[in-house]
Symmetry: C2
Subunit: 403 residues, 2 copies
Amino acid sequence: MHDDPVLQVAPDTLPTLSAWAQKIAPTPLQIALASAAKPSVLSLALGLPDPTLLPHVAISEAARRVALSNRSALQYSIPHLPLKEHIRTLLMEKGVECPLECIFLTQGAQQALNLLSVLLLNKRSLIVEEKFSYPGFQSLTSSFSPEVLTVSTSARDGIDVDALEILLSRSSRPPALIYVMPNAHNPLGVTMSIEKRIRLASLAREFKVPLIEDDPYGELFYDERIPPIRSIESQWVYYVGTFSKLLGPSLRVGWIVAPEKHVEALSVIKENCDLNIMTYPQCIVNEYLDTNDLTLHLAHLRSSYKERRAAMNCALSDHMPSGVKWHVPSGGIFFWIDLPDGLDATALLIKCLEEQNVAFLPSQAFSRGNAKSGMRLNFSHPTPDQLVDGVRRVGTVLNSLLQ
Amino acid sequence: MHDDPVLQVAPDTLPTLSAWAQKIAPTPLQIALASAAKPSVLSLALGLPDPTLLPHVAISEAARRVALSNRSALQYSIPHLPLKEHIRTLLMEKGVECPLECIFLTQGAQQALNLLSVLLLNKRSLIVEEKFSYPGFQSLTSSFSPEVLTVSTSARDGIDVDALEILLSRSSRPPALIYVMPNAHNPLGVTMSIEKRIRLASLAREFKVPLIEDDPYGELFYDERIPPIRSIESQWVYYVGTFSKLLGPSLRVGWIVAPEKHVEALSVIKENCDLNIMTYPQCIVNEYLDTNDLTLHLAHLRSSYKERRAAMNCALSDHMPSGVKWHVPSGGIFFWIDLPDGLDATALLIKCLEEQNVAFLPSQAFSRGNAKSGMRLNFSHPTPDQLVDGVRRVGTVLNSLLQ
C-alpha cells in the first residue's frame, strides 16, 4: 500500500467520432492563420475579391425582384435551367461547346470538387496533382486517404507534361484522377500554354485518366485568354467553373461540365449532400445576368485587378531582397514568391506576424505540408496602398533574415 | 472456323466511377416518381410548403437591404453570428439551453445530416433507425454501406423504446448512431411522448450511443408542443433544425446543436464540402428575423396547415375503403395511411398514376425498399380542393382493388 491517490479516469462523456474525424486537428499553419485573422493584421493571405468591385446594387435588385416575382424561387425546385443557358453562352465564348444536359450546377467550385471526388475516388485511390496545388482540394481528398503522385510546374507555362507522361506510363495502377488549374494556377499564378493543354488532353485520353480542370480564375486574365482543356477533350475532362470571384463568393453558384452520362450520378450525390435545391441564389445570378452587362463588369474587374498586379510588382521590386524571385502572374489574384532554399515559409509567417503584423500564405499550405520555401501574396483584396505597405513589411522581415 | 462475326467490344470511352457511384441507378420507385412530376399529375407525393404561405415580400426586402448595406454579405466570411443568436432564442422557447458555440449553421437539414454522418460513421458502421424513416437520411448513409438495425414505431406515441433497449443490450458492437424524428415523424406523422423522450435520452447515455434528433417540423405542431430530447440530454444528442418549412426551402439555412468540442471538426468537414461561407442566405434570414414577427408568421402557418389537416381527414373518412387505417398527425405536413396487408404500395402508385393521374409516396420509399403496405399523403402543398380531389382519386383506385 502506498500514498499515491487512485487515478481518477474521467468517464467518456462524449460520442466517439469516425476514424477520419478523430484525426482532425489544427496544424501549426492553421494556428498561425487564426492569428492572421485579427483586425490589426494586414493580410495578404486569403483569396478574397475586392468587395467594392462586387455588384452589390445589381445583386440586391435581382434578389428582390426574383423573390417577388418567381413563386418557385424560395421553394424546393429543380436546378434553374435558364442559368444553365447563360453558363452555356459563357462557355461558348471560351471555346467550349456543350449541351445543357452536361452542365451541372453546384454550390461553388469547392462543392464541385467535393462531388467529383465522391464520383471518382475510392478509399486509397491514386491521384495526380501538381507539387503546389489548391489546399481545398488537398483537404477534401484527404478523407479518402489517397496515394498522391505529384508533378512539378513551370512558372513559365504550367505543369511538366513530360514528367506526367513518364509518371503515367510507369504507374503500377491507373490514377483515379488528375487535378489541374490551367488558368492562373493557385498558388503559382501561371497559365498553362495551349501546347501543354493539348498534350494533357491526349494523355488523359491515352491513359484513360479523368482530368479535373478547375477554373475559378478563367475570366480574370490580364494578357491573353487560352481555351480550356475541355474545349479540346470532352470525354475525359470534368470542367469546374464558378461565379464566386466575379459576382460574390457567398452566392455560392458554380458548375461542372461533365460527360452527360455522369450527370445523373452527380445529382444523386448532391441530393445526399444538400437536396440539390439552391434555387434562390441560382435565380438571383440568372436575374443578374438577364438584366446586366456581364462583359462590361468583367472588363472592369480585369482592368482594376491588372492595376493592382502592377502595383504589387513594383512593390516587390522595391522591397524584396536579392535571392527572392517571382513571375508576374498572367491572371488571377496572387503572386507566387520563391524564397531562398532553406528558408522556412511558415517560420517566416510567424515572424512577420510577430514583428510586422502582416500575413501571407506559406508554401506548406499548398503542398500537403511538404514544400518549405515559397509564399503566396494576394493582390485583389488589399487596397493598392495596403498591398504596397504589406509587401514593404514582409520585405523588412526578409531583409533582416537574409542580410 | 465458323461464321459468327467477331464480337466488337466498344472502347471504354468514359472514366470509371468510384465503386459507390457505379451502384447509383434509378429504382422502380424513382421511375414512378419521375412520371409523378408531370404537370398533369395531382401530386400528394412531396413535402413542399405552400408557396403562398412563404414570406416572399419580407424575404425580398431582407435580401435587398442586406446586399446593399452589409459589405461582407456577398464576400467570403465566417458563419453569421447574429443569426446564431436568433436560433438560440428560438431554441430557448423550446426548452433547449445552449451557448452560441454549440450552434453550427448548415445548408439546410439535409446537409446537417450529411455532416453528422461524416462526423460519426465509419465504413460499415452500425446504425439504428426506425422501421420507417426519412429517405434522405437512408440514401446519404447508404454510401457508408452501414449495418442497419430497425425499431418499430407506435402511431400513438413514437419509437418502441423497450425494443430499442433490448436491441442495444444485445448488440454485438455499439451502434455509431441512433436516428430519430420525435416531432411529426416523417413519414408517420406521430409525435413522441415526453416519457419516451426521457427514456431515449437515458438509453443514449447508458449505452453511449450518439443520437441524432432531426426536427424539421418542430414548429408545425397543431396540438401541443413537447420539448426536444436535446433539452433533456446535451452530451449525446445532436439536434438538427431548419428554416426550410418556415421561410423557404431554397434559402437553405439549417443548424446543428452539437457538443461544443465537436464543432471544430464539423467546420473542417463543412469547409471540405463547400468552404462554409453561405453568408448571404444567412444574412437574409437574420435580417428577416430582425425586422419581422416570426411568432405571428408561425401562428399563421400552424392555423393554415391545421385547416388542411382537417380537410384531408374528412376526405379520407369520405373516400377510403374499410381496412384502410390512419391517425390524425399531431404536427407536420403528412398523413400516413396503413393499407391492408399484402397490398403493394408501389404497385398502387403506378395504378394511381395510370388510372387517376394522382401521386403519393409509397412505404418502400421510407424503409430501404422493404415495407410494402403504407402510403404518405402530403397536405401542405395542394390547395384544400386539390387535396380532397387527390384523396378521392386514390380512394377510387383502392376501392376498385379491394372490392
